[in-house]
């Protein structure tokens, strides 16, 4: 993994075949996208962690069905949305947000326009899915370049080993590559196509409910 230049399809195949390092690389690359999607649903920190855990665990078993480069980000986005929605629908968890979580304050002013918010969310998805496709060195450089508070080129050079004079051109190449990623091209090619609710390919309603004939008089609750 030193070169960090493995395409997503290779990583997915390798992780499906038992290469744990490939899995870790997938997790590193796609965590920002996963986190960003879940955060949009205004879940608390604990709920966000719950949803992420569900998505990761499920993804481990689904790797072998995700052969196309774009299949992985699409799967992550769809599954995170569904699981977040499920959390929202659950009346048992009635606390809408974590008051100790400072990011809520920062975001509260953006609630005014849901349409703009959706477009913004889709831009973020494209940016983060695109970032995940980049080779590690380019991805790491871009992450350092957008760090807050900003780092100087000297600091970035020290962390990456890229000479100060090369950071500008390297940055340019990384951004050019970002514009060429599947995620970017797909986002720029089409109109907003992801509707949060209509997107869920929730299958047909099962024809029958589970109706157990309780001839034995046993109370299931006592099993616990």
């Amino acid at each position: 993994m030193d070169e960090g230049d493995y395409p997503i399809t290779w990583l997915v195949d390798a992780a499906a075949a038992g290469n744990e390092q490939a899995w870790q690389e997938i997790v590193d690359r796609y965590t920002p996208l996963l986190t960003s999607v879940i955060r949009r649903f205004r879940l608390s920190v604990a709920e966000t962690q719950d949803v992420a855990q569900t998505v990761w665990l499920r993804l481990v078993e689904h790797l072998s069905s995700l052969r196309e480069p774009r299949a992985l980000p699409t799967w992550i986005i769809t599954t995170s949305k569904r699981e977040s929605l499920r959390y929202l629908s659950d009346r048992r968890r009635s606390v809408p947000y974590d008051p100790l979580d400072p990011s809520w304050l920062a975001r509260s002013s953006e609630d005014a326009d849901p349409g703009a918010e959706l477009l913004r969310a889709e831009r973020h998805e494209a940016l983060l899915a695109g970032l995940a496709e980049l080779p590690s060195r380019q991805r790491e450089l871009l992450l350092l370049l957008v760090e807050e508070p900003p780092l100087s080129y000297a600091q970035i050079s020290k962390r990456t080993g890229v000479p100060v004079g090369s950071i500008g051109p390297t940055r340019g190449r990384a951004l050019a590559r970002l514009r060429e990623t599947f995620a970017f091209r797909e986002h720029l090619a089409g109109p907003a196509r992801v509707s949060v609710v209509a997107d869920g390919a929730n299958g047909a309603h099962p024809a029958t409910r589970i109706q157990r004939k309780r001839g034995d008089g046993r109370d299931a609750a006592t099993l616990g």
Partner: protein
């Protein structure tokens, strides 16, 4: 998207938007990545095991229909071929059925590492402890085949 494209043609704008996109994810990303890496330990290594995907979840349907009835039971369907599993979750009870109906053994796994078995009857019905909650998956062993369901949070 033309506006976005024009905006992203500029390096500075593209970096600004990237910074914006990462800002919300950054505080939690470290923790979530750590959990993600640990998830690999749960990988099943068994070529004959069918993966039954969560194909229906009535709690999602509630959201889609803008309906909220806390008294509704939650119905979950995990689909594989030729074997599927249905679960019905009510406040005090979790019941399930193997489809097509037939006997089998059900093994419940929780993400906390607890596992236990229950037996499905001749038509595939089984009961799970009513207070079973959290992240779980079911393994099902029948004469027709063996399956493991998607992880699901009850």
């Amino acid at each position: 998207m033309a506006v976005t494209q024009q905006r992203w043609d500029e390096d500075e704008h593209l970096l600004d938007d990237l910074r914006d996109a990462l800002r919300e994810a950054a505080p939690l990303a470290g923790t979530l990545a750590e959990h993600g890496k640990g998830a690999y330990a749960w990988r099943t290594v068994d070529a004959d095991l069918l993966l039954a995907s969560l194909s229906f979840d009535s709690s999602l349907e509630r959201v889609q229909e803008r309906r909220s009835d806390p008294d509704d039971d939650r119905v979950l369907v995990f689909t594989a071929s030729p074997l599927s599993l249905e679960l019905e979750v009510t406040p005090g009870h979790v019941a399930g059925q193997i489809v097509p109906p037939g006997p089998g053994e059900i093994r419940v796994e929780t993400a906390e590492g607890v596992t236990f078995h229950v037996q499905a009857d001749d038509v595939g019905f089984f009961d799970l402890p009513g207070q079973l909650r959290g992240l779980v998956r079911l393994r099902c062993d029948t004469p027709t085949g063996r399956l493991v369901t998607d992880w699901v949070r009850l």
